[in-house]
Symmetry: C2
Subunit: 548 residues, 2 copies
Amino acid sequence: MLKSPLQIARQSYQPKMPKALMGHVVLREGQATQSVADQEEIQKLFPNTYGLPLLTLDSAPGEQQSDAINVGVILSGGQAPGGHNVICGLFDGLKKMNPDNKLFGFLGGPSGLIEGKYEELTSDVIDEYRNTGGFDIIGSGRTKLEEEWQFDEGIKVCKQLGINAIVIIGGDDSNTNACVLAEYYKQKKCGIQVIGCPKTIDGDLKNEMIETSFGFDTACKVYSELIGNIQRDANSAKKYWHFIRLMGRSASHIALECALQSQPNICIISEEVEAKNLTLQDIVDQIAIVVAERAKVGQNFGTVLIPEGLIEFIPAMRRLIQELNDLLANNEEFVAMEGDDAKREYIKSMLTPASCELYRSLPKAIAKQLTMDRDPHGNVQVSLIETEKLLIEMVGKKLAQMKASGTYVGKFATQHHFFGYEGRCAIPSNFDADYCYSLGQTATQLIIAGKTGYMAIVRNLTQPAAEWVAGGVPITMMMNMEKRNGKMKPVIQKALVDLNGKPFKYFEEHRADWADADMDYIYPGPIQYYGPTEVCDQPTHTLLLENA
Amino acid sequence: MLKSPLQIARQSYQPKMPKALMGHVVLREGQATQSVADQEEIQKLFPNTYGLPLLTLDSAPGEQQSDAINVGVILSGGQAPGGHNVICGLFDGLKKMNPDNKLFGFLGGPSGLIEGKYEELTSDVIDEYRNTGGFDIIGSGRTKLEEEWQFDEGIKVCKQLGINAIVIIGGDDSNTNACVLAEYYKQKKCGIQVIGCPKTIDGDLKNEMIETSFGFDTACKVYSELIGNIQRDANSAKKYWHFIRLMGRSASHIALECALQSQPNICIISEEVEAKNLTLQDIVDQIAIVVAERAKVGQNFGTVLIPEGLIEFIPAMRRLIQELNDLLANNEEFVAMEGDDAKREYIKSMLTPASCELYRSLPKAIAKQLTMDRDPHGNVQVSLIETEKLLIEMVGKKLAQMKASGTYVGKFATQHHFFGYEGRCAIPSNFDADYCYSLGQTATQLIIAGKTGYMAIVRNLTQPAAEWVAGGVPITMMMNMEKRNGKMKPVIQKALVDLNGKPFKYFEEHRADWADADMDYIYPGPIQYYGPTEVCDQPTHTLLLENA
């Protein structure tokens, strides 16, 4: 098997660890916890795992040992850099405690648990995946663990393998499900603990207890590298406006972090669009004004960052999409209709006047995207909408009007980009490699201590790794009740960009400068694994600002 | 001005240099040269710069000094990582020789020389651009220096600034023009020397004397980083085929190098397509076969690399494009026509039967692209054709047929990518930083020695930088006569991928394995500037194989 020189070099990288995870680790219990909201309902739903105390790990003298245990691990949902290192940390933690401890990986995500598809992760396997990107060690999947029959199948499989604990590495939904599973297993007294780990490049699994989810650091650095390179090109060729859409299901954390790293001329933050009740045309107009201002001094180039989730944060667009979803779900009349024009006319005749107006104003290709390509529930697949092309077309139209009225003199040539798959499986940055390895080691400690319904956490992340604080937080503490598919459900609150938080405030304060023709772009360059610590060990700007 | 940590760290990087460029440098003359072909015609066109000897630089004891001179430098054509370092090497070389030497940068490409737009490059300016990507220090442009009035304007500007020599940093066309300029100035005895430097990310400025053009190394490494990341994602999610188009005007060097670095499942090489007289359908069928083979073992994912220039290397496509160019140039009837369908019918009625057949077989959106968006000469802008989408659509169709006939069982979900602007202005790799700095220093030596019509070259590039061999090669030596826009012109031969060369042979030998489901991808990761030398100082696989 051929490997790149960097792959080979990274195999021997030893992740940095907090002092608290060295030697004999002890758990200190903090105060009992409450859920962030809806305490009564959450407590009722999680009688066995509600109100548990916070846990902090600490190092004590002596060696630590345990009876032999078997642990299962699951990767859930979209890839994020560092997932392999959580597993490596877990493995090393288990083996340090007792060489007879075993780690099983469930294959292809949560379905591996239900279907009994697994692989024992031995040191041969683990060593191949140290400090690597991807989730390919055992694969991931999007099956949701939500139903009792799934839980019961899981018990059977675990009993068969002698598994005492399951670690679920996932985002907010997967950790919510981890907690439901923990509660069920505790109630059934089946002796299977469940521990969660906070993963997602989107950065929206973040709260008082979780400073950042893993993978966000690496993914944002890869996207920022590319944005910086494109900006240097724009500034050299001086002929293109680059519209760059960035992955991120819903929140704009990625776009904001990339903006902080690279200082683009324009960055749209979905949460602000929603808070200010902006229309699509408002956004288009704002972009056009910056383009026109820069054109006045001959700067017919620039960069625009667009969060993938934007469309759904524009209130009028959301209403249109909702109407289309209601209209087109199981609509056989529509499906049977022949010809794009007929379909378009039909839709226009069925929409409310406001939505019809918006629908008519969209470029035809985009309007068509809104009515095609529906997911299995009949909903528009918003992530497939090429918002960068939509904005290019509408800004171009607006600029043509401005040119006609004499308020714009310039050339508007464009390039478009979408970055997502380029960063989700990158080789983890030192930060993510270290953070994830510590999360894995922390999960081991929670398991050994017999805990369940906890998420492994590592905090104090803007300090050197030695000073990081490891611990456990009851998953119920992060929950509230939210409506999902029409039903109230206990879920972990998703963290959108806080418009009063320091990262957004910094952006808000500086963005007018960044739009300016005299301002320099920042060129972050590629992630460095070796070299000066300020080059290769920095956390994200978001984390630094939040903890400043 | 805010900078990223890597930007700051790179400012103090001291490029490695060949021993021959240290201390007192002397020139050794080799044999007189001949052009690669059409010797008589080339000699007739370049009476003053033809047949010059090869030059090799060597280090001698003692200090080197010169009378004060002024030099102008021009960046020509598309950006390539390392351009700034050529200028830095030139600057440092000049200043070492005589602190009174001056370097002027002509702004915005060759037009800066004609229009007298320039900036003196002082150490303050230079220090800001050491080891950085981009051409923004003085900007670049695509104006061609071809006509006598331009040359005469250049003389005026140079006289005004006391400029003794011009360094033109560009690709094959720019260096051809550099030679024409050198010849003209020599003939006019105006005392202005002209020296070229071999730049282009495309890698097609390569011959017996030039081992590689600068920028190719960095750009390919950036693209390979992204391809590797995508492959890790494909291999983790196991649900998408990623079709990735790679920049490169014409030759497939970039696609080939990226394939050697990352081992994709499929990589198309335009030169092979042409040599084998393949049709578009042949290419589609080849891809579909690999997709179907992998699907048999449940591997419904993979990667396909597509060189940007592919379309023009498919003989039947080239004929279609030629017919469309002839048909649509200044065709006002066509422009006035209303409706896509009418235009489509008109075109079909005018094409030859074979071209019509091909035109009809193309997805409608692509067929439309072929007839819209024409360049100022009325030609199809081939680079705008989204070949990756074309292939996705046609492969999908083919697979549907195969499914119907029972020869394909699988799911074909896709993602598409185009990488170009992401790499052209990346921070140069150590290789390109070192190579370019040495090229600049070499250019200084050629100037001091009074040479003109030479290209600065640095060879032996697979050895450590200290062992590199610097010298000068008469530009006429690389020329032959080719038809351009209907006229025979002296031009530097463009190097396409050599189907008998070692890089292609290696690829040919291994590609069946790479398509295989058992084969591992290679994950190159991002360019490293620090750390183990095997990680941060390797040249391209192409260069290593060619010199193996």
